[in-house]
């Protein structure tokens, strides 16, 4: 299952969707909103996406994992919109015959997702400043005036 959603991620349903009698292992990864980053306190995170391309790239990642490991089922769900602290922004579930493949494929999927899937997060800090997170670009925060 590959999905981009604005709704709360049902990680129990996602996990169930990859379970199989052929599997000896199921790995679930959840990405959650962290309060403190480099000494700054996050209030909320907003995620933006290019939906058509994001879903296409997530499907490519599933195909890539299937080429590299004997995975049985793959599920990737990313949420967009506003997230409060602790909320789940992304879930990756993988099943495989044995646990090393499930761990390796799951790690690969989330690492590659962060590299190539066109989704962006914007920090709103507890002091009211906002900042897009764009790796490799160092920029000052901007005052939040109209959001």
């Amino acid at each position: 299952m590959i999905e981009l959603t604005r709704e709360t991620i049902d990680y129990t349903a996602l996990t169930e969707s990859v379970r199989s009698h052929q599997a000896g292992a199921v790995v679930l990864f959840l990405g959650t909103v962290r309060e403190m980053t480099d000494g700054r306190q996050t209030a909320v995170l907003d995620y933006d996406a290019y939906p058509e391309m994001a879903e296409a790239k997530m499907a490519e990642l599933e195909a890539e994992a299937r080429r590299l490991w004997p995975v049985i089922e793959v599920g990737i769900v990313h949420r967009t919109g506003r997230h409060d602290l602790g909320e789940i922004s992304v879930a990756v579930a993988v099943s495989s015959p044995h646990r090393p493949q499930a761990f390796e494929a799951g790690r690969h999927l989330i690492d590659r997702l962060k590299e190539i899937v066109p989704i962006w997060k914007k920090e709103t800090y507890s002091d009211g400043t906002t900042e897009w997170v764009h790796p490799g670009i160092d920029q000052p925060s901007t005052e939040s005036t109209n959001e």
Binding site: D48, S89, V90, K114, H134, I137
Partner: protein, 81 residues
């Protein structure tokens, strides 16, 4: 030819619009689109060197030729997860 370019994240915020239309020579490349975008929208300057261009649902490098019907998007480095 006229190319519509969708903008996302900080690129959209800096330009103040989620889509812009650029006039480019027929058979223009992605590199020419970058040049025209920077010229028309100088507010993108802080991101210019880092902007990624997608044609359809794939990343396009600077030598790729463009067609009028292409779905083109422009955005800064991704940060999902």
């Amino acid at each position: 030819m006229k190319i519509n370019v969708r903008l996302f994240a900080q690129a959209r915020d800096l330009v103040g619009s989620d889509q812009v239309a650029l006039q480019l020579p027929d058979q223009a490349t992605v590199a020419e689109l970058r040049t025209e975008l920077a010229a028309q929208y100088p507010d993108l300057a802080p991101l210019a060197a880092h902007l990624l261009i997608a044609v359809g649902v794939d990343y396009a490098d600077d030598v790729a030729p463009l067609n009028a019907e292409d779905d083109v998007a422009c955005f800064p480095p991704v940060s999902g997860g």
